[in-house]
């Protein structure tokens, strides 16, 4: 019964009958404008304040890593002539090549093009990147394909019968 009554009252009311505080008065309008402006300024300020820590959060922290200056790779006889091997130099891959005449050469194994890991091709006697067909010669020079720069070298030191690679700048 009471529900029915409520319905009747609502049906008869027009939109103008509904009073909203401050909607139609002049004073209300200028106050409203001021408050809107204030709201805009503070909310953009708040958004900016929140953006900064968010941006900083998504940048990963720099973790301290052990610096590696040289790595011992094994004995000379472990490496066959005309073969290449990937070795770990800290967190980065390196490529050690024992050339067909027995010399040792070592390079950063990360292709200067798009970060793939290169390999030694004994059939062509070159350093090759499988991703985009980049080719380097045995001095690390970029000779064909997309790589823009030569492969950085490591210095290879033979101490006794051991093969050691060192950062080029340390040598």
């Amino acid at each position: 019964m009471s529900e029915q009554k409520e319905n009747i009252i609502e049906e008869n009311a027009t939109e103008e009958d509904i009073k909203i505080d401050g909607k139609n008065s002049l004073e209300g309008k200028s106050r409203r404008n001021f408050l809107n402006w204030l709201l805009g300024i503070t909310s953009s300020g708040l958004a900016l304040l929140m953006t900064y820590p968010l941006l900083r959060y998504i940048v990963p922290p720099k973790l301290r890593q052990a610096t590696v200056s040289s790595v011992e790779l094994g004995k000379i006889d472990d490496f066959k002539k005309g073969r290449g091997e990937i070795f770990k130099f800290g967190r980065k891959p390196g490529l050690l090549i024992r050339t067909k005449n027995g010399d040792f050469k070592a390079f950063h194994a990360t292709c200067t093009h798009l970060d793939c890991t290169v390999q030694y091709r004994d059939d062509l006697d070159i350093i090759w990147c499988a991703c985009h067909n980049g080719v380097f010669d045995l001095d690390g020079l970029n000779i064909s394909g997309p790589p823009p720069e030569p492969l950085p070298k490591y210095k290879v030191i033979i101490r006794g019968d051991k093969v050691i690679v060192k950062q080029e700048s340390d040598a």
Binding site: P60, K88, K92, L95, L114, D115, A130, C131, P146, P148
Partner: protein, 358 residues
């Protein structure tokens, strides 16, 4: 029956659902020789639903991490009952979804239905396409196998070629200087939380636009008298046809997933050379192949950045087509759009085929 009606009445008194139902019942869909293409939006939606469901199932066993991603995938495909099927459906459906979205995009493009008043349907649709390929790119890495590892290295390294901010963006994207466990975590979060959230919102907006505006009448109808134009009701005709097609698509998906299950490959190893035959997902192939032809330096720019810039510019032009298209007024507008569209398709197909043949 009475009970059902009274529930509807209860809901209707509060939320006026019959208005929405009436609206749907009055909806009509134009019938023309191009009608077939209208269904690809629905097919894309179907694949998305499959992705959500199978993705949830994979989450029950998948454990993200350098030491667990590949191993948990192995568990799924070898030990978990029907795990191979769920995984295979997820990756097949991902590929088919991107394919359906691309077909949908080109059909909207060639039928010119992106024109006024549907510009924003095109824009939201293009955002959905971008999100779909980002889904693909991030999901590709998650099994942590060799191919995905190097494909992700290449794909993300291109960002590093952007001048000034490139390196910072690369680190933000990878979560590290290189692709490692941090990247895997980041891509996982992107794939299962961030992207699904954004995608669902944009998809809802896209579908609301389509429902509110209805399907557009074919361009050639302007020369046909109103009496000769044919429509079919959205309910039940179009909806049932949609459903029938979904059933057919489900069968195709099941056949592919069962008879051509996706391989897991070899676990990623940061200290192994990139294997020969490394390939990105097929929908990135034309870009991957194009980059092989870009010289190391173009003018004063790095080759990769130049390639990226060109793709970016072309992408923006394509994205904004409703806003530069001269519309129905211009005599040559349609021809220009058709020629551009056909050239783009030929370019993409030729480069993709070369990429696979090499």
């Amino acid at each position: 029956m009475l009970k059902g009606k009274s529930i509807i009445k209860w809901v209707d008194q509060r939320y006026e659902v019959t208005k929405a139902v009436d609206f749907m019942l009055k909806k009509k869909v134009p019938v023309s020789k191009h009608s077939f293409w209208l269904y690809f939006g629905g097919v894309s939606l179907f694949f998305f639903i499959i992705q959500v469901l199978t993705g949830m199932l994979l989450l029950l066993y998948y454990r993200v991490g350098e030491d667990s991603s590949f191993e948990s995938m192995q568990l799924i495909v070898t030990k978990v009952k029907f795990g191979w099927l769920i995984r295979s459906i997820h990756s097949w459906s991902a590929n088919l979804m991107v394919f359906a979205v691309i077909v949908h995009m080109f059909s909207v493009y060639f039928t010119k239905t992106f024109r006024k008043p549907r510009e924003l349907s095109w824009v939201t649709g293009m955002i959905l396409l971008l999100l779909s390929v980002t889904f693909g790119f991030s999901g590709y890495l998650l099994p942590w196998n060799e191919l995905a590892y190097f494909a992700t290295k290449v794909g993300t390294d291109m960002v590093g070629s952007i001048p000034v901010i490139g390196h910072d963006m690369l680190v933000i994207l990878r979560g590290s200087d290189t692709v490692d466990g941090a990247t895997l975590s980041r891509f996982f979060g992107l794939h299962v939380a961030i992207l699904p959230g954004i995608f669902t919102v944009v998809l809802a907006i896209h579908l609301i636009f389509v429902q509110v505006q209805g399907m557009s009448d074919p361009v050639e109808w302007r020369t046909i008298p109103v009496k000769e134009r044919r429509y079919m009701p959205f309910f039940p005709n179009f909806a049932l046809k949609d459903l029938l097609l979904w059933l057919i698509v489900l069968n195709i998906l099941a056949l592919l997933a069962v008879f051509f299950p996706m391989e897991l490959g070899v676990k990623a190893d940061a200290f192994a050379s990139a294997p020969a035959g490394i390939k990105p997902e097929w929908y990135f192939m034309f870009m991957f192949q194009t980059l092989k032809y870009v010289p190391p330096h173009v003018f004063f720019l790095e080759g990769e950045f130049f390639g990226l810039l060109m793709f970016g510019i072309m992408g923006v032009i394509w994205f904004l087509v409703p806003f530069w298209d001269s519309g129905e007024k211009s005599k040559y507008g349609n021809t220009l759009l058709n020629v551009l569209g056909v050239l783009l398709i030929i370019y993409v197909i030729v480069l993709t085929v070369i990429g696979y043949l090499e």
